[in-house]
Assembly symmetry: C2
Homo-oligomer: 141 residues x 2
Amino acid sequence: MQIVRHADGTFHWEGVPVREYKQDGAAPFKDVTRQVLFEAEGLPAQLRYFEVAPGGWTTLERHEHVHAVMVIRGRGQALVGDQAYDLELHDLVSVPPMTWHQFHAASDAPLGFLCMVAEDRDRPQLPAEHEIESIAKPLKR
Amino acid sequence: MQIVRHADGTFHWEGVPVREYKQDGAAPFKDVTRQVLFEAEGLPAQLRYFEVAPGGWTTLERHEHVHAVMVIRGRGQALVGDQAYDLELHDLVSVPPMTWHQFHAASDAPLGFLCMVAEDRDRPQLPAEHEIESIAKPLKR
């Protein structure tokens, strides 16, 4: 398929399934969907679109592979390491290796973002229950 | 840098230089800029932002590496192989290996698009002068 049409204003694409963010029930998250936009043969990377509904958040996790993120819808906040950042349309976020990170949508807006990752990548690690509070502290939630 | 701010509505990013599309004077193009948004260590791919001004166009070329493209500003047209496609916001375009391609902005709007490519890639080939007319025929220009 050489062209995949975006359905005007929906952030859905023709023939691209809107998936559960994670199938693994063990990792906590809230109101997140995942769409794989590109995973072409001959490309060592994938481009995915994640959408976090208002008030939702992705899993707090870390891994060796890096994330290259661009916001393309709405706004929210990112935790990256020991800092939290407010996110607006088209802001870019780099998540370095083994850095705790989490994305939150605003309470009154979704947060939709592209995330480029290597095709070949390691699985995320989750924090231990007793670590979560201090890791998430910069978010002030 | 973990966050790079987009300057609201401009499609310019803090500290990201807006470059000439090509430095090589041999390849024809018109009114195109290039910004490299992500080329992180540990990522085998880059994400670039190209912007074609109204009435402008990229070089007609082909290469072994593939392009994964998302429109994020304006509208225009893409030639991919023997077909031309109208492009609207958030449409996706895949350019397969060794496929002639060219992007045109509309006459009254820019065309801004993300393009994901492998970090390690071959150089583009240009058509011979006598081939251009038949390759570009689907564009009906």
